[in-house]
Amino acid sequence: MEKAQIIETIAKRVAKELNKGDVVNLGIGLPTFVANYVDAEMQIIFQSENGFVGLGPAAEKGEENADIVNAGGLPVTILPGGAFFDSSLSFSIIRGGHVDKTVLGALQVDEQGNLANWMIPGKMVPGMGGAMDLVVGAKKVIVAMEHSAKGKPKILKKCTLPLTAASEVDMIITEMAVIEVTADGLVLTELGPETTVEDVIAVTEAELIISDALK
């Protein structure tokens, strides 16, 4: 798959997980694209952890407002009915369980639903930003990422990188698979377009339980 097609496949599938009226926080990068596949009737409310709900599309060229940016610092818009607030209320919303779904990228996820997505020691230490609060606080945590890093598994038996949070991931959505994190382990519930179970297993280190209802 082309990069653009991978993103589209993942983002479209994540969008199906959102329910009418959900409050949703989308991480920077790939998760941002999810908003493109959510129609207005769904009344999804996107939260931007730098301080508002009602996050709308990127601002049109020439229409940027320097005071309205997303958590990546990019000029965006606020939709009618939205509201601005400070960081303290923003994270009361996040930590307090008022975000229904958070969608984040990952470097590694494992069989226990552990997530590593904020540093590679000695190499890259961007910092956790709001990720640790989001993963701990949101009602449902969806990891949205490419299934492997150029063939190297990212879905592992056990994360080797420093964790973002332990046992908080509920679902993993990649271009190849939809995987649910359960008490019994990782359950493969859905295959991506033109993908076989064998294809998935080949690039997954973690043990996968194949769902009876595999789609």
Partner: protein, 217 residues
């Protein structure tokens, strides 16, 4: 997704035995019209979390007089002699909480924090039965988060997205309570169209609010 409902409909969401946060400060900024409907319904055994029990002729005060409250977690009962009488007679359980501690306990409940560390109440009856922590040589009381089944708020204005705006001193406990209950109902003086409250000036974002009710002033 916010729905506009009537006073009776709002009152019916409060069941016998429910825990209910109620905004207001001696009734100012309190959902006094919804409370009138609660009195008509005569729901019983409520656990009330609020600043005070108002006066016998208004809001929560009337719930006390009508004996609908089993327990009240409050900071002050001096404005309602009937509360003191029921407490002394063993008819009503009262948990007295310092006002700043009450605000923080509710906020902690809404913000996913494990508790509140405060000096208020140290070496007073408030500390009885509570854990104390030594933090860098200073004592702090550990006070527990508060949550409730329902929060009944009062706002001056709501837009149809449920965003709330409070005038003057009516804000008090309403914004923290909005964050700490399973179900949030706001009685408002005025319902306006989306866009009529500037997103900068929203005091309680609509995501916290489930229902709005047009109340009488």
């Amino acid at each position: 997704m916010v729905e506009i409902i009537g006073l009776q409909e709002a009152a019916e969401m409060v069941s016998d035995g429910a825990s209910v946060m109620i905004g207001g400060f001696i009734g100012v900024g309190g959902p006094n019209s919804i409370i009138e409907a609660l009195i008509e319904n005569n729901v019983k055994d409520l656990t009330i979390i609020s600043n005070d029990t108002v006066t016998p002729d208004l809001g929560i005060g009337k719930l006390v007089v009508n004996k609908q409250i089993k327990k009240a977690i409050v900071t002050h009962i001096g404005t309602n002699p009937e509360t003191g009488r029921q407490m002394n007679a063993g008819e009503l359980e009262i948990e007295l909480v310092p006002q700043g501690t009450l605000a923080e306990r509710i906020r902690a409940g809404g913000a996913g924090l494990g508790g509140v560390l405060t000096k208020a109440g140290l070496k007073t009856p408030v500390e009885e039965g509570k854990r104390k922590l030594d933090i860098n040589g200073q004592d702090y009381l550990l006070e527990m988060p508060l949550k409730a089944d329902i929060a009944l708020l009062k706002a001056s204005k709501a837009d149809k997205a449920g965003n709330l705006y409070y005038n003057g001193a009516t804000r008090n406990f309403n914004p923290v309570m909005a964050t700490a209950a399973e179900l949030v109902i706001a009685e408002v003086d005025e319902i306006v169209e989306i866009g009529e409250i500037n997103p900068n000036d929203v005091m309680t974002p609509g995501i916290f609010v489930n229902f709005i009710v047009k109340g009488g002033r």
